[in-house]
Assembly symmetry: C2
Homo-oligomer: 564 residues x 2
């Protein structure tokens, strides 16, 4: 073992990682099968995806504890994006999901290549909250039929689901309903009480928390036992997971048709953004708890590679899982070895225990998915968000309604457009003040707030922003508005103390302003231009056409203009 | 006559407006027929649209000299947006163009109602320049077949046009080619030399300019005369305008189908923006020359009403025309009466002279359109734009290529997305400085620029921007990056001197930051929060959870934190 490795892995850290790895396994197994089921994929697709993603991320990612694999939100997006193109459950559908993973991986790597990770800044908190809440509602609605023991309608359309449910209500399978209700009650009780009981029984709080988080595994094992004992499938017609092929996933190199790739690309782009957003936000929270940092650009690459790898084993898109990462961290993982150990035991399960899951009722998986989704809805945070600012409330509500009504893609795009609208609105109204000189000083202040000297033939304006397309029109109008009816003005001075940048729209606005003022015999001057802006302006026709002068300071300008 | 009117209209102003109105008529007649022809509409549609738009705008608009009616850009957009839905020239096509005018008018009025005029700030100069240049190229390409005497292929697809041209090259009508070439040469000569000759001949420069601008009318009258004399149509198969129904337009109340309205709505929205942009930019230049102002919100309404009126006479969308407005202003118009007079004579033309245009060869109209379009391409400005800034150059090029390749709608949307991307990029990298105290003062300065006191257990950061979704992630990362590896830090102080606004994303970032710092036993403090921001923050859970204190000034904070 080379020295650096032996320093990295001491017996203590290996032991810690092994404990964490096995603990995470118990949450991973039921979750990834349930999320595969949510995505409309076979159970093994979830297991393969988790196995491959955990290994690939361990070697490429910058977070030490991020557990990558299928997640509820991404599974739901996969279903909604892919289902219009193929019948759910068909070979064609599985191929489309795999293509989606391939494209998602490609988009993530491409974003890395062009260093465009900042693009997730587009997703403001209000948009993300609206999207996640709507996604949770859609996921829960989607799981209702299975929880009631009906043949599931897989479509992600709430209205269609409700109509379908009403029609099928007489066909409810009471045993399946009992299983899902029982699982739900058990999981809710565990969530709210188990941890407290365990602590009272003398178990350490951290360990109690981990046991509580393993409740889904407990439900899965229990219902498998009951299902086998009472022959749920044959006696009561309860839908079960069915055969999971034993053994390691086979590599399959899929070359999607160009047509299909183009149709799925917008969806892949959006999934890539959500994956990056979810993963880095969880990753950076965990890293900061250890005073470490994740490197967003490297994360793009690592998540991209994980998704490309998943595509090679006929999986579906993967992201960092909040629940599994939190458990990994809480149960003491110190390096990426923990995830590799989880992956190892996933492999062991696939090799020797895959037939255990045959008899697992799908109603249990619905219960697990419903509980996971319900935890995504954070009423208190939403209430605070809505009260906090008008623009965020509108953005949240718009995104929520649009995701429910028109689907994930249109909904998120609408939300982003709304938040950019509000940003532009703020950007489009920069602060401009008419200023005058504080008597006897070199200081200039707003004429509406201070007693200052003014001059009837001079208009002194201080622009407190960069001049860009979003505000150029406003600045120009402001100047004309100030001039309207002030026939005595012969000189306008723009004081650019806080102007960091002037884009072409801003430059042309200045040029037009200069030209139009000159047509009415008003001279335009500039003062306090910053160095970088001055460098930009040099050699432009605006500087050649400027009727007035450039002054270093507003005070020098005033002296020159009043002494003439 | 009420007193206010008699003060508004004196014999002098009426005379001035009459001269301007008649002068503008001579430019309006050939242009609106040519632009109707460009839009794929019958000649009378252009005349009706100009007549109605001039009158309606005169009574509702705020510019005294804006001449509203068909323009090259808007005609071209009309063709491109409507042609996918109906065969050009068919009754269905004319109905679609009318529906487009109706929807455009509706969109403009709607934007007025929600006071959303600032939305045109979305169209940065680089996008507009890219769009106008590409539109000019498309218009010229589109006019080639007619200029060569071929049956026009009306599609706005450059590649299709080139292929079509190559196939039809043997069918060129030499007489039509001679007419269009002759007209082109004549118009170009007029543009570059006529005005100079007239001035040398002793005519006043302003009048010489007006005569020059009337050159198209001269060409029209001349070719009508030639066409009648030599029987261009019957003898040489030259395409002519044909019969224009004499008399006033009939009102027709069109109720479009919901389906058609939905299909045309995105196009109508974009046309509305371009109409508003063109009209207000021309209008405000003219107004500023007289130290007057136009009122953008009222302009939205006036242009909306003009388009609704045009729809009632089976016309197509109208905007303020740059050429005709400039001539109106230059020939001395002092009030909206000038436009009403132009409209009056358009009516006279329709009533008694419409059959004059029967024999006008369409090749002449092509020449007029080509000359107008070529004037839209401003190479010098484009060169300056491309050299000036990288982001504007990319935005210009992207818009240009996309409009040519994918059409007006997609092209403009791509351009807007590009410019917003660059805006977000700038917004996403706010200026944050680690600061220290200038020894013996109360002033704090960047540690990288000044010799300042620093403290190993304190991290003092000055954030120079509002905290919003576009930069929240960056600010958070910045704090963690500064902390990485500095185990001695126990307190972080954020100095918010220049923070004018905090949105929910910013607030939650602060909340997470506070929480994560607290997990690693670092206390977070805030200083110099502005009044309005403080009002926002009150009653938020962030303020309850904040581990540290709020200080009025950075200096007070430093005293408190170092004296503990």
């Amino acid at each position: 073992m080379p020295e650096s490795l032996s320093r990295l892995f001491t017996p203590q850290t290996i032991k810690a990682d092994a404990i964490a790895g096995v603990t995470v396994l118990f949450i991973t197994l039921p979750q990834v099968i349930a999320y595969a089921f949510l995505a409309g994929m076979p159970a093994q697709a979830g297991l393969y995806a988790a196995l491959v993603a955990l290994c690939l991320y361990a070697f490429t990612g910058t977070s030490k504890v991020l557990a990558v694999g299928p997640t509820a939100i991404v599974a739901m997006m996969t279903l909604q994006i892919t289902s219009p193109f193929a019948e759910i459950g068909s070979t064609q559908y599985i191929a489309s999901c795999t293509t989606l993973a391939l494209l998602t991986g490609g988009v993530l790597c491409f974003l890395r290549a062009i260093r465009f990770g900042y693009i997730i800044s587009l997703l403001s908190h209000a948009v993300v909250a609206g999207f996640i809440t709507a996604a949770a509602v859609l996921i829960i609605g989607n799981q209702f039929p299975t929880a009631l023991g009906l043949q599931g309608l897989k479509e992600m359309n709430l209205t269609a689901q409700m109509i379908y449910l009403a029609q099928q209500l007489t066909d409810i399978n009471t045993v399946a309903l009992a299983i899902s209700l029982g699982s739900l009650v058990f999981l809710v009780l565990c969530k709210f009480f188990l941890s407290r009981w365990l602590v009272q029984a003398g178990i350490k709080p951290a360990n109690a928390e981990i046991v509580t988080k393993s409740a889904p595994m407990l439900v899965v094992l229990l219902t498998i036992f009951l299902s086998l004992s009472f022959q749920f499938k044959d006696q009561f017609g309860v839908e079960v997971v069915g055969a999971i092929p034993s053994g390691m996933p086979e590599l399959s190199l899929l070359v999607p048709s160009l047509d299909e790739a183009i149709q799925l690309l917008p969806g892949a782009f959006l999934i890539a953004l959500i994956i990056f957003l979810e993963s880095t936000s969880i990753g950076s929270v965990m890293a900061s708890k250890q005073r470490q940092r994740i490197e967003p650009n490297q994360e793009l690459l690592a998540l991209g590679i994980a998704n490309l790898g998943v595509a090679a084993v006929s999986g579906f898109p993967v992201a960092g899982s909040f629940a599994r990462t939190a458990v990994n961290f809480a149960s003491g993982a110190v390096s990426q070895l923990a995830c590799v150990i989880t992956a190892f035991f996933l492999g062991v399960t696939l090799l020797w225990f895959s037939d255990w899951f045959f008899a697992l009722p799908t109603a249990v998986l619905s219960a697990i998915v419903i509980i996971s989704a319900a935890q995504l809805i954070d009423i208190a945070r939403i209430r605070e968000l809505v009260r906090y600012s008008f623009s965020d409330a509108i953005t949240f509500a718009g995104t929520f309604v649009m995701v429910i009504a028109l689907g994930v893609e249109t909904g998120i795009v609408c939300g982003v457009i709304l938040s950019i609208m509000f940003l532009l609105r703020r950007n489009s109204r920069p602060h401009i003040a008419e200023v005058g000189r504080l008597s006897g000083t070199e200081h200039f202040r707003n004429i509406h707030r201070f007693e200052v000297e003014t001059f009837s033939n001079l208009l002194l304006l201080r622009v407190d922003e960069s001049l860009i397309f979003a505000n150029a029109r406003y600045v120009e109008s402001f100047v004309y508005d100030q001039l309207a009816g002030r026939a005595a003005v012969t000189d306008v001075l723009l004081i650019c103390t806080a102007t960091n940048f002037i884009d072409v729209t801003g430059l042309l606005m200045l040029d037009d302003l200069n030209q139009n003022l000159s047509d009415t015999h008003i001279t335009m001057h500039l003062a306090e231009i910053k160095g970088p802006v001055m460098a930009q302006l040099e050699n432009t026709s605006f500087m050649k056409d400027l009727t007035g002068e450039l002054f270093l300071t507003a005070d020098l300008a005033l002296k020159a203009l009043t002494e003439r």
